[in-house]
Amino acid sequence: MSLLELDDVKVHFPVKRGILFDRTVGHVYAVDGVSLSVTAGQTYGLVGESGCGKTTLGRAVLRLTDITSGSVVFDGTDLAQLPEEEMRRARRRLQMVFQDPLGSLNPRQNIESILAEGMAAHGIGADRAERRERIKEILTKVGLPHSALSRYPHEFSGGQRQRIGIARALVLQPDVIICDEPVSALDVSIQAQVINLLEELQESEGLTYLVIAHDLAVVRHISDVIGVMYLGSLVEEAPSDALYAEPRHPYTRALMSAVPVPDPEVEDRRERILLRGDLPSPASPPAGCRFHTRCPWRQPTRCDTERPALADIGGGHRVACHWAAEIADGSLRPTSELAPPVLVDTGTDGEPGTDPGAGEDTDPGTERKETAAGTPA
């Protein structure tokens, strides 16, 4: 059963200019039409590189950021349409855990006061004593001693602070927790502790997670379903194992091939799909397929003119690529077999405007000169 259903969610931030800062000169298309559905009791992992809109999407679900258009249906209610007061109440059931545990905890409040604050606001617990009992129970669940109650955030390590952040969400007995980069600020040995904790809590509390992270290995480890984002939209979605076994979108393939694996035997055998250039700016996303400025499989037709829809290919697998079928059956090869080594890759003759890093639209006229993967092999 789907507990959280997003339909064509868009979040566009106006870019203002002028002396009075009131003239809108453009938009940052941070989230640009995302549809996905999170099953109750499961974990949906949203993965993508910096700036692709993951955090914005998470915040939009909680309406911490205004939604430009689209719907966010939680347990039958469209949150996008809720009046502010009702939305405030709905937030008890939808909680967020942030990346930077220190930045999201008030340094002048002790742990009891941090945890009790939300409870009081949502009318949980009759009095202070009752709330304290509940907090103690939760502290035990997240693996913190009761002595933590009277201590302050700076007295804890990064991993412990993240446990406090999780406890703050848990005291409200939420149904859904949105975890934005829950472990990326932590050392690996601590990451594993927090990942295991999240998994245990899901089991014992029946939680549903939307986990947002840039680390594909972490996301694969904890998610039932993974959505891959690129420049504001989903390019692929599949059950965790299927995505790993059969990545269908060129971007997913490149992303996967770039993740280092802590095993020299694997590393030595792996083929790397090196992408050219950087992420274009979400303020001026490329026309057509947003990935076409960097796609090693880019074709002369459709890719730069027509935006591919996220199409169902069966088995709960969805892909947004015009040529996904041809790429999968091998009839389309990368424009250059794995990108050439970077040092000799002087690919473009460098016309201004064709450099994806500049965040400008690629001029369709230069298309044949500049293959996406650089110098032909």
Binding site: E49, S50, S157, G158, G159, Q160, D187, V188, S189, I190, Q191, A192, Q193, I195, N196, H214, D215, L216, A217, V218, R220, H221, I222, S240, D241, Y244, A254, L255, M256, S257, A258, V259, P260, V261, P262, D263, P264, E265, V266, E267, R272, L274, L275, G277, D278, L279, P341, V342, L343, D345, T346, G347, T348, G350, E351, P352, T354, D355, G357
Partner: protein, 336 residues
């Protein structure tokens, strides 16, 4: 082992921060390792274990006040730690170069990239004017910056993170250094950009014979890039080995635990992680015994009778600082 003498030989490096009124912080506590000519040597460990302080000490970039540095670092025969300011400055940028995690902080924000590159070319290679500009453009092009002539005129903030790191690498390799120290050069970058930068560093080592001291917290990066690896814990090397033996048979309980706690992209879903308990804050001073003892599953009383020595419990060249080294996995055998 390489037949040549090592390019850099760090011997018993210690760095202590002594603050007014504060207790001293022993950030690096007797670190020894070699960097072989033309190879990639890894220094790996979690935050706070002394990676950056080690590299800054080698480069002579630690503040003079409130810091005590001990030990030796023989680079091509000369002890870097005994050199004066001037001599070090001459060495840096010519034979010795460094790149950092945050390229923005090592680039001057108000000077165009081009000028920062040509300055180095002028100082160390005597190139001026057009010749310097041409060479600068060539360097940027070689590190994979498209449209280098235009980029040379731009300021650091106009470049993306990946491109800034490339610019910094271009500056670092402008004088074909013998040794490049890279402190978490890809940590701030996206993984697809990281792949580009790692490829670039590999090319440098392969084509120019530059030796690379790669400092990272990422065991995946180590697995793909390093020839020899030194694992650091609380300011000491706790395990040192060639790349493959280290991953096949991690022998120090810390290294062993670290590898068991990393989620792997290629591991089947649902396989549980085995975290190391506690955190880096649960550490005792090396003078009292093994600093890892409070977190160690293999702990016994013996671990608290002085600092464990580096030994070679299973195979030659695979050094481990532990009195109860983890047995090698049975089918891998001790002869790997």
């Amino acid at each position: 082992m390489s037949p040549q003498p090592p390019l850099l030989s760090v011997e018993d490096l210690t760095v202590t921060f002594t603050g007014r009124g504060r207790t001293d912080v022993r950030a690096v506590s007797g670190v020894s390792f070699d960097v072989a000519q033309g190879q990639v040597t890894g220094l790996v460990g979690e935050s706070g274990c002394g990676k950056s302080v080690t590299s800054l000490a080698l480069m002579g970039l630690l503040p003079k006040k409130g810091v005590t540095v001990g030990g030796h670092a023989y680079f091509d025969g000369t002890d870097l730690l005994g050199l004066g300011r001037e001599q070090l400055r001459d060495l840096r940028g010519s034979k010795l170069a460094m790149i950092f995690q945050d390229p923005l902080s090592s680039l001057n924000p108000v000077i165009p990239i081009g000028l920062q590159v040509t300055e180095i070319l002028t100082r160390h290679r005597g190139l001026r004017g057009d010749a310097a500009r041409k060479e600068a453009a060539l360097l940027l092009e070689r590190v994979g910056i498209p449209d280098p002539t235009r980029r040379l005129k731009e300021y650091p903030h106009q470049l993306s993170g990946g491109m800034r790191q490339r610019a910094l690498i271009a500056m670092a390799v402008a004088c074909a250094p013998r040794l490049l120290i890279a402190d978490e050069p890809t940590t701030a970058l996206d993984v697809t950009i990281q792949a580009q930068i790692l490829e670039l560093l590999k090319e440098l080592v392969d084509q120019q014979g530059t030796a690379l001291l790669m400092i990272t917290h990422d065991m995946g990066v180590v697995a793909g890039l390093c020839d020899r690896v030194n694992v650091l814990y609380a300011g000491k090397v706790v395990e040192a080995a060639e790349r493959k033996p280290l991953f096949a048979a991690p022998t120090h309980p810390y290294a062993h635990g670290l590898l068991g706690s990393i989620p792997r992209l290629d591991a089947p879903r649902g396989e549980p992680l085995n975290p190391i308990r506690g955190s880096i804050q649960d550490t005792i001073a090396w003078s009292e015994g093994c600093a890892f003892a409070p977190r160690c599953d293999f702990y016994s009383e013996r671990c608290l009778s002085g600092t464990p020595e580096l030994t070679e419990p299973h195979t030659a060249g695979h050094r481990v600082r532990c009195v109860h080294p983890v047995a090698p996995p049975s089918k891998e055998g001790a002869d790997r």
